[in-house]
Symmetry: C2
């Protein structure tokens, strides 16, 4: 029999105590899922009260003397394995936030971001940046204060990046973005000059029956996934994936997205869910069950969304089901659909961007965030600089702030330092693809059959998922493939694929 | 401005601390709802773990020194109002269970009932009482031990009844059942002799489209209820109602019940939900929000199920919607449907029984439970005595134990002392009906219009719901109507109604 991953007796004792904290997070995840799916509208007040109490209680249990001394005791244990070390690392990581951020700061941050979120929604609806600007100024100020409280070595933005991706630095991100910026700009201008370039595909214009799109999303999951007894899909205003507990994984889709968006978001969220589903069973109920690295998580969601979902052979194998959504689809060949799903065109909205231009959107966010934190630009200058950058990088520029600086929710929630993980996660996905293809053969061939898809799932489980949150993204990559992180695999993939299409 | 119901400063301080315990119960309710509606099948292990931790944590918080001394301090406050006194009463009631039942007892009880529940399911499936008997013997033993631990004045069954209905005694229940037993037996034999008596109604035989039945249940709620922003209906294996928080009320229906059962269970669960919905808003987040008395709760569910749901004028007002379920309904007149919904016939299954014979089922449970607790009968004798009693009281007898002693879930869960609240709650509902009719006019007239239904809802709110769990059932009845509890109103109602039908 294989040895248990968490086997040290002090770690086991620690995990037994941790189980109550885990239980609170279980209920928190369920409550957030419910809030976004089925909760009656007027339940919001009591839900918010309950979640606030849950957060305080969880912090209190983390900081209980017995628990802290058990962490200390575990730290002094010799010969811990990687999983056991990771447990301590992640508990200490949570403790750092609980200990370094004073309750008054958390309270102010929560209050300001709650108000800012409402202000942002209004500002976006009314297309009036000035309604949001004072809140964003306050947020930038608080976020800079947070960086100081948390501490950093070189750059205050490091402390912010670290919150979303443990150990990620400004230097690393900058290095990454400088690798992709020029090659992508060149690729985009190549595509725009292609005779096959078009701004819109006919398939975009059709109306689809919502019930049929839902049925299609359900079909997709039952087709690619091997066990629907631990996975379900529901409707919510924004698609998300959540890991409620062992054997309980849920993703959502928007009620009104068209066929292509539902398809792509379902594949994306499935990738997130599969990572959690395939965590080694010893890691459930521990802080290393599932992933905490946003880069690794995004590498999984983008993997399914882009390499499988946008693959021509995969599209061919689900063509019959697609036609059930709308008889008009029958008029289009697989090549038409493939081109539609892989259409590249500079656009204003990040979440609707294709594989190539997507990263330019992220570069713009990254450059703006860094400059804001450094105090090099002011909040009031954002709309103008935003427009300039879009013009410079993508050759288009939003007419309104609604389609520009006000489009994303992140800043209103105080999430500064999050965006880079989207791009870097996508780059990591291309590295996994490269190694899977080296070991198992072309993904386009594998996805032709359910057995091939299962081989991919097994590879991902073995190399990535089963470890949960044990390793940082670059460690995991090194350990599983022997390669170091870089943007090259992503660039090679995009070049090859899109030069073939265009 | 009206004074707040919970206004004393010590009570307010106590409620602030209680809010965390409330939050845990909020998550517990949500988790149970989810477990019965949407949770993926394989999520059960982690859900059970989380709920077990939640129970322990909740008990721990209850027994924290600060909290206990605050309860003591509140007890010494002078001039508390009824609501404030009820808060202390209910906190002490919870404390009694936490303090008198040792953790080892709770653990054993939980373990035995979990195993017994599985054994009962198997025994029922295989129609083999002997598979369940040893577990039930153990349960009876533990339940008698529980009575000793909790303490009682006259009869050990008092301690068990009290767990489900605060203050209810064996003497009171016996007195109640002795009032109804003979009159109901006489009424049943009157009905059986009527030329209109029939064993089955043609409408029972039709097949119905499930989606249409669901739509009908939704219609019923939007028709009778004034705000669907705080109420929803979903599917679950057994219908139930749950109060998750202020503005968050949910009921369920079975996925495969026929039209009549769905209709009746929806009205029933709505009655439970309305009680919680109409609690005074000052009482949310406190232990007196909603009801804890099963008799009062059942008086609300049975009120909507029987007096409104089975009313001919109400049936007439929803006749158009009924016909949408199945065109064959059109062949039947309102009189036919009224007769179908109010069909009386002795039957074997309690949950399917009509208004008249229902109480006989409860009397049988009550007599058996009391004799078991007194040690006058043995578990092994139950199947035989069960059959004898059904033969004696209803003139029919189950051929199998599946349709007999194994039919109900209660004993397998260790719930002994619960059944009497079903009958007594129904008797209380008839008392409310009597007083509503005295003050507002005939229910059959009121339910003809939405305004009339709203008048009933307002009366229930004013006399019952707004008080939450402040009063015991007999106190509340006295306070709101000046009358004492008895079975007379129930018997008068049944006599009048069913002598008119038959």
């Amino acid at each position: 029999m294989e040895e248990k991953k968490l086997n040290n007796s002090v770690i086991k004792e620690l995990m037994e105590k941790y189980k109550t904290i885990w239980a609170l997070s279980h209920f928190g995840s369920l409550a957030h899922w419910d809030l976004n799916t089925y909760m009656p509208e007027e339940g919001i007040e009591s839900r918010a009260e309950a979640l606030a109490k849950l957060a305080v209680l969880s912090q209190k249990m983390f900081l209980e003397k017995d628990f802290l001394s058990l962490i200390k005791k575990a730290e002094n244990e010799k010969e811990l394995n990687d999983y056991e070390k990771a447990v301590i690392r992640l508990l200490n990581r949570s403790l750092k936030y609980y200990q370094k951020l004073p309750p008054e700061f958390i309270e102010e941050f929560t209050k300001v971001t709650s108000e800012a979120h409402v202000a942002w929604k209004n500002a976006k609806e009314q297309d009036n940046f000035s309604l949001f600007a004072p809140f964003l100024e306050k947020i930038v100020e608080l976020v800079r204060k947070k960086a100081e409280l948390l501490g950093y070595e070189k750059h205050p933005y490091d402390a912010l990046l670290d919150e979303y991706e443990e150990g990620l630095t400004t230097e690393e991100s900058e290095n990454f973005f400088s690798q992709i910026k020029e090659p992508l700009k060149n690729l985009i201008s190549y595509i725009k000059k292609s005779p096959k370039y078009k701004e819109e595909h006919e398939l975009e214009k059709h109306e689809y029956d919502r019930e049929k799109i839902k049925a299609f999303a359900n079909f997709i999951l039952t087709y690619i996934h091997y066990n629907m007894k631990h996975l379900r899909i529901d409707l919510s205003p924004h698609p998300f994936s959540t890991y409620i507990g062992k054997g309980d994984h849920r993703i959502t889709m928007r009620p009104k997205d068209n066929f292509a968006k539902t398809y792509s978001s379902t594949m994306h969220e499935y990738g997130h869910a599969l990572y959690d589903i395939q965590t080694h069973e010893d890691l459930h109920y521990s802080p290393i069950g599932g992933g905490t690295s946003l880069i690794i998580h995004e590498s999984q969601s983008r993997f399914w969304e882009n390499f499988i979902g946008k693959s021509k052979t995969f599209l061919a194998s689900i063509y019959g089901e697609m036609k059930k959504i709308n008889p008009e689809i029958e008029k289009y060949s697989i090549d038409d659909i493939y081109h539609y799903i892989n259409l590249v065109k500079p656009s204003l909205i990040r979440t609707e961007a294709d594989e190539v231009t997507y990263h330019i959107h992220i570069i713009i966010r990254f450059e703006l965030e860094k400059a804001l934190i450094e105090g090099k630009i002011k909040v009031s200058e954002l709309p103008r600089i935003w427009k300039d950058k879009y013009q410079e990088y993508l050759g288009i520029s939003p007419k309104t702030d609604k389609e520009g600086v006000l489009q994303d929710i992140h800043w209103s929630q105080g999430s500064i330092g999050y965006f880079p993980t989207y791009s870097m996660g996508t780059a990591l996905s291309a590295l996994w693809k490269k190694h899977i293809e080296k070991e198992l053969g072309k993904i386009d061939d594998l996805v032709k059959t359910k057995e091939g898809i299962r081989k991919i799932q097994d590879w991902l489980k073995e190399k990535i998922h089963k470890h949960g949150a044990t390793y940082l993204y670059n460690e995991l990559l090194q350990k599983s493939t022997g390669e170091s992180f870089s943007a090259k695999a992503l660039l090679d993939y995009l070049e090859e694929k899109y030069k073939a299409i265009y």
